[in-house]
């Protein structure tokens, strides 16, 4: 298990970006996600997908940072989606309220379709 988060950014199109995480979403990991997300947002990308396939652990500080990113995205009329969460992380997001304003998907394809407005 890795405790240091790595983020890989992919741009399937001009409106949507995928951030693939690998590691612990804690303060350091959350800051790294925020850094990448804010850079994309300042470039006009307001539809973000966080693919957590390789993340097995998240703490409350990481969640508060994800909530900050979500708030900023919503302020700018954007959308945030998560996909490929472990059952534990999915349950945590439900409890902590992240799933109230962001959408959780089992697979990237359906998440991207939702971000593009192709599905509800």
């Amino acid at each position: 298990m890795s405790e240091t988060l790595k983020v890989i950014v992919e741009r399937p199109d001009a409106k949507v970006a995928i951030l693939r995480t690998d590691g612990y979403i804690n303060n350091t990991g959350g800051e790294e996600i925020a850094r990448q997300a804010y850079a994309l947002m300042s470039g006009g990308v307001n539809h973000l997908l966080l693919d957590l396939e390789k993340t097995k652990i998240v703490n409350s500080i990481g969640i508060s940072i994800l909530i900050e990113i979500l708030e900023k995205l919503l302020d700018q009329g954007g959308r945030l989606a998560f996909c490929r969460l472990t059952p534990t992380i999915e349950k945590t997001f439900q409890i902590m309220g992240l799933a109230q304003y962001a959408r959780l998907f089992p697979a990237p394809d359906t998440a991207i379709a939702w971000l593009r407005g192709e599905s509800e």
Binding site: N26, V58, N59, S60, I61, T88, T92, I95, M96, G97
Partner: protein, 558 residues
């Protein structure tokens, strides 16, 4: 040049602030309203609760000055109401130099500083400006209250998350016996809920190489071989001075340890390290953290105990099945009754122990009127021993058809077969005898077995001649011996389950008791003597569990 105060404009700006606004955008909006209401031209604002959050309008302070501002506010605390005049001027220093009259303006409500602003001029109309500051303070107070509510909401959700995690681990414990995955789950949940950076879980596990199971998240915090050097209670190390035993040298700043114990036995330990905060620093572990980690430690103990009990239950079931199988093999091999043979009266029996050993006895009437009989004892217990008995039985049956004139050659063939067959250092002790009623000659070969007890009118004699146990020494040499039996002479063959039967005082039944019994029973039939021996051994052991089968075979010359 100083512009005029726009009090109405300031109120309009404040009224336009989004109640959901936060952070630097909010600071900037409020600061703009204050500048307009005061008739100032530039200003800087800082959030006393988050000193790194600031906004500047009409000026771009040097990063070093902003850093000083943040440091000063942090040191002064969230109730800060003023700034050093030199710092206030430095914040507003622009291309035209610092303003001579920098004003520090705290916005407060109920003794709480909501915002600290520095403006480059005093308000042009202090009375009207007071309404602007009151309006701004009320908005900030509402937003601050909203933040409090949000934080409380987050805290509440966090408690639900904590309870849910403990509940989930409880469910997992009930639903799986795979401690390995449970240990991963418990470790990850502990690290996650305590905002720790690292974690280590180590438990004693004799079924694993090295005797321990160690799980780490991040750098290992403990040497798994030093479990004995850890406190047996929940232990917090928030300072280097608190490090003891195996915690000295752990690669972390602060540590929290919970023992994993059941019924007073230490099973292992769960340790987490370095509880991080939002500012990137490391906080002390609190009493609440101790409570959470203790609960996870207790759950790990329950999971371990469950896994152990399950392992024991499976092992017990396996052993019982094996015993049943071994007993069934043994039952099919041992003779149900002994045949009538020329010149001998035979009696005997076998009493298996609960573990089912490898005793064997048999009688083979030969076509030429002779009779072969044997007692054997194979090493080991259970199914492996029963299979070896089966092999010896098959060898004897098959080889007897080829003749038994040469006893050492006969036993040597079985010996060589077992050397090739038995790769697990199993061996057999065997007393094999052949009686010829015509010559009254008893030939025998004792391959490492208990000496045969021959009772004649001259007294008891022990028949030990033969060689080592078969199936163990490749170079073993066997030799036979012979005696001539007079009518009434009695040969008692037995296994060590008879002579080594133990009583509650851990005394063995012994050879002397067997000899005395045999001498007393000379006037009785072989079957009565056999029963008398089994009865005496039972009387001696008085219910103490025995670990070796007991076998007796008696041959009396007619």
């Amino acid at each position: 040049m100083r512009g005029g105060a726009d009090v109405l404009g300031a109120h309009a700006r404040l009224a336009a602030i989004d109640p959901a606004a936060s952070g630097e955008r909010l600071l900037g909006d409020v600061l703009s309203a204050l500048i307009a209401g005061a008739g100032a031209s530039r200003g800087v604002a800082v959030d006393p609760v988050h000193p790194s959050r600031h906004a500047a309008v009409g000026v771009s302070p040097e990063p070093a000055v902003l850093e000083r501002l943040g440091r000063h506010v942090e040191e002064a605390g969230p109730s800060v109401v003023t700034l050093p005049a030199e710092l206030a001027r430095a914040l507003l220093t622009g291309a035209d130099g610092g303003p001579p009259d920098a004003r520090v303006l705290p916005l407060t409500a109920q003794d709480e500083t909501l915002l600290l602003a520095v403006l480059d001029a005093p308000p042009a109309d202090p009375v009207s400006f007071a309404s602007v500051t009151a309006h701004a303070a009320s908005i900030l107070a509402v937003i601050r209250m909203s933040e409090h509510v949000q934080r409380a909401d987050f805290e509440l959700k966090y408690r639900v998350w904590e309870l849910q995690s403990l509940y989930d681990v409880g469910l997992s414990i009930a639903g799986t016996l795979d401690f390995d995955s449970l240990a991963d789950d418990i470790l990850l949940k502990s690290v996650s809920l305590l905002n720790a950076r690292n974690g280590t879980l180590v438990v004693r596990d004799e079924t694993r190489e090295g005797g321990v199971l160690a799980k780490h998240f991040g750098a290992p915090l403990l040497d798994a071989g030093r479990l004995d050097e850890l406190p047996d209670r929940v232990y917090r190390c928030n300072t280097p001075e608190e490090r003891i035993g195996a915690l000295v040298g752990a690669p972390a700043e602060k540590l929290l340890l919970a023992p994993i114990a059941a019924e007073g036995r230490s099973l292992g330990v769960l340790v987490v390290a370095d509880k991080e905060n939002r500012a990137g620093g490391i906080d002390d572990f609190t009493a609440g953290d101790v409570r959470i980690l203790s609960l996870f430690g207790n759950q790990a103990a329950i999971a371990l105990e469950n896994a152990r009990l399950h392992r024991e239950s499976v092992e017990k079931e396996r052993m019982e099945r094996e015993i049943e199988l071994a007993a069934s093999i043994q039952k099919t091999i041992l003779p149900a009754s002994l045949p009538d043979v020329p010149g001998l009266r035979l009696a005997g029996g076998n009493r298996p122990t609960r573990q089912v050993g490898g005793d064997y006895f048999d009688v083979f009437p030969l076509p030429d009127g002779q009779t072969a009989f044997c007692v054997a004892d194979v090493s080991g217990k259970g199914v492996p021993a029963a299979l070896l008995v089966s092999t010896v039985h098959a060898c004897l049956r098959i080889l007897l058809d080829t003749g038994i004139a040469d006893l050492p050659g006969f036993v040597g063939r079985i010996h060589r077969h077992l050397l090739g067959f038995s790769s697990t250092r199993k061996f057999v002790t065997l007393f094999l005898a052949v009686y010829d009623p015509a010559s009254r000659r008893l030939r025998f070969l004792n391959a490492g077995h208990n000496p045969g007890l021959l009772l004649t009118r001259d007294g008891p004699t022990l028949l030990a001649s033969g060689g080592p146990p078969i199936g163990i020494l490749p170079q073993a040499v066997y030799r036979e011996a012979a005696v001539v039996l007079a009518p009434g002479d009695t040969l008692v063959l037995y296994t060590d389950g008879i002579t080594e039967a133990v009583n509650a005082a851990d005394e063995e039944f012994g050879m002397q008791r067997l000899i005395a019994l045999a001498l007393e029973g000379l006037g009785e039939s072989p079957s009565v003597l056999s029963s008398r021996i089994f009865g005496a051994v039972s009387e001696f052991t008085r219910g103490v569990a025995q670990y070796d089968d007991q076998t007796v075979l008696i041959a009396r010359a007619c």
